[in-house]
């Protein structure tokens, strides 16, 4: 995949370059999907949210100000779409062994090794307060910098740091272990 910066791809896409837009989507779809899943929990719903997010990006690409980070804008849209999805969702029975969940692992290189840990983490994440969850999702999952996340959430960078710090601690407490999550520094 090309290493062309996001903003350059955005410029090309604005000019009508469909390839550039495709590269943008492929580059960010996994993070958008995971961020969405951290809110909506269901992989199917997360896929729907990801699709809605990129459709919205396509529609509003012309109005995107290139002085901002594309990822900030993208994940702000993703979070908004995810919460919209949660608000309008009709509860339905979940079948963890059903077709949809199975199909979600289609691209996972080693589902047995990683699915449980991810599932536990995202499950715990969805149990956090919204402020903590959003900060953790944007910083730890979407990979945004603190300033980007702050811009996306409309709060001060110090607030993001505090929320991420406390959100991480809450996650560890919910998981009941300090070694889970696979990423100690």
């Amino acid at each position: 995949m090309t290493t062309e910066p996001d903003l350059e791809l955005v410029r090309r896409a604005k000019a009508g370059d469909q390839d550039a837009f495709a590269v943008l989507v492929r580059r960010h779809e996994a993070r958008v999907f995971t961020v969405a899943k951290g809110v909506v929990r269901s992989p199917e719903d997360a896929a729907d949210v990801a699709q809605e997010t990129f459709i919205a990006v396509l529609r509003h690409l012309v109005s995107f100000q290139e002085t901002a980070q594309f990822t900030t804008w993208l994940h702000r849209i993703a979070l908004r779409k995810a919460y919209d999805h949660v608000r309008r969702r009709v509860p339905e029975p979940v079948d963890p062994a059903g077709y949809a969940v199975e199909s979600m692992d289609a691209r996972d290189p080693d589902p047995q090794a990683t699915h449980l840990a991810r599932g536990d983490l995202l499950e715990a994440l969805s149990g956090l307060d919204e402020g903590f969850r959003d900060a953790v999702l944007l910083v730890d999952v979407a990979g945004l910098g603190v300033d980007e996340a702050a811009a996306a959430l409309g709060v001060a960078p110090g607030t993001v740091k505090s929320r991420v710090f406390r959100g991480r601690a809450a996650l560890a407490r919910q998981l009941g272990t300090h070694g889970h999550g696979g990423a100690s520094k």
Partner: protein, 305 residues
């Protein structure tokens, strides 16, 4: 920072991220050695830091999304037909996915979940496009036409039931007509026109249907009676034939209760209704003056006499 003051969360975050300078890093480290509460908090936050949790989007969902995006791109840029297919090729990498782009319309595919759960909630903002409003109302015109016909049929039934004389509603002439088939098998009259309209008007009425087709009260079709219904009512399947034979026994073919009904249809004839849109039509096809004029929807007049 002093020992009595715990570092702010922001500082601890930066400490974990390695974003503090050496001086501040040493200060925090020294504090954590003396403060078990902060140390536990930092340990928890370190353990709760999510790394490598990004999940690849499932292949099927990803392909679906790219197809929807391609369709949205094509729609946005005014591409259609081959252009839309080319857009799909670019965004999906058709060689990799094996998607038959020719089968994809501009609205994109319906997601698996959507097709199972949502009833055609098609909108490009959600991927699949919403059904155009005009398409959703395509059934209105036929439904209105059906409603008018049902109204007319209902009116004719009402008129039959409303027959004040309580006399048989089928004239001998009608019954003769119903039994006049070549094979001698009793059959209901083939059309309302053949039942009651004078012979001279039959062709005209038939060709003007349905707007000016006469509606008679004794049509088996309108009355909803079938041969099976006759049998269930205790009659026979050829009950009409029996009635006709009885009528024929009078020798004149006229209704025995009203022997002159054939000669004076305007006096003794059964009620006939004609649906028309011609406001100037003031007489029935047989020349009688209408006794009732009913205004129906869509400018239809029902003239009864």
């Amino acid at each position: 920072m002093t020992d009595s003051r715990h570092p702010h969360d922001e500082v601890l975050f930066d400490f974990l991220e390695g974003a503090l300078d050496v001086t501040h890093t040493n200060e925090v480290r020294a504090h954590l050695e003396r403060c078990s509460a902060c140390a536990a908090f930092v340990d928890a936050a370190r353990a709760g830091a999510l790394r490598d949790v990004v999940e690849p989007m499932p292949a099927a969902a990803s392909e679906r999304m790219h197809v929807a995006l391609a369709a949205a791109w094509a729609e946005r840029n005014g591409a259609a037909g081959v252009g839309a297919g080319a857009a799909v090729d670019v965004l999906t990498g058709a060689e990799e996915t094996g998607i038959d782009v020719a089968s994809i319309d501009a609205s994109g595919p319906r997601s698996l979940r959507s097709s199972r759960r949502r009833s055609s909630r098609q909108n490009t903002s959600r991927g699949p496009a919403r059904t155009p409003r005009r398409d959703r109302f395509r059934w209105v015109t036929p439904a209105l036409a059906f409603g008018v016909l049902a109204l007319l049929a209902g009116t004719s039934v009402f008129l039959v039931d409303d027959d004040p004389g309580g006399r048989p509603s089928t004239s001998a002439q009608d019954r003769n007509a119903s039994t006049s088939s070549d094979d001698g098998v009793a059959r209901p009259p083939e059309s309302a026109t053949s039942e009651s309209a004078p012979e001279g008007d039959t062709s005209a009425s038939a060709t003007a249907a349905p707007a000016s087709a006469p509606i008679t009260g004794n049509s088996p079709g309108v009355a909803g009676m079938t041969e099976e219904d006759d049998a269930a009512a205790g009659g026979t399947s050829d009950g009409v034939q029996q009635d006709a034979a009885k009528s024929t026994a009078t020798g004149s073919g006229a209704d025995p209760a009203f022997p002159d009904s054939q000669q004076h249809p305007d006096t003794y004839g059964e009620p006939v209704c004609v649906a028309t849109t011609d406001e100037t039509q003031l007489t029935l096809p047989d020349g009688r003056i209408p006794q009732r004029i009913i205004t129906a929807p869509l400018g239809v007049l029902i003239i009864c006499g």
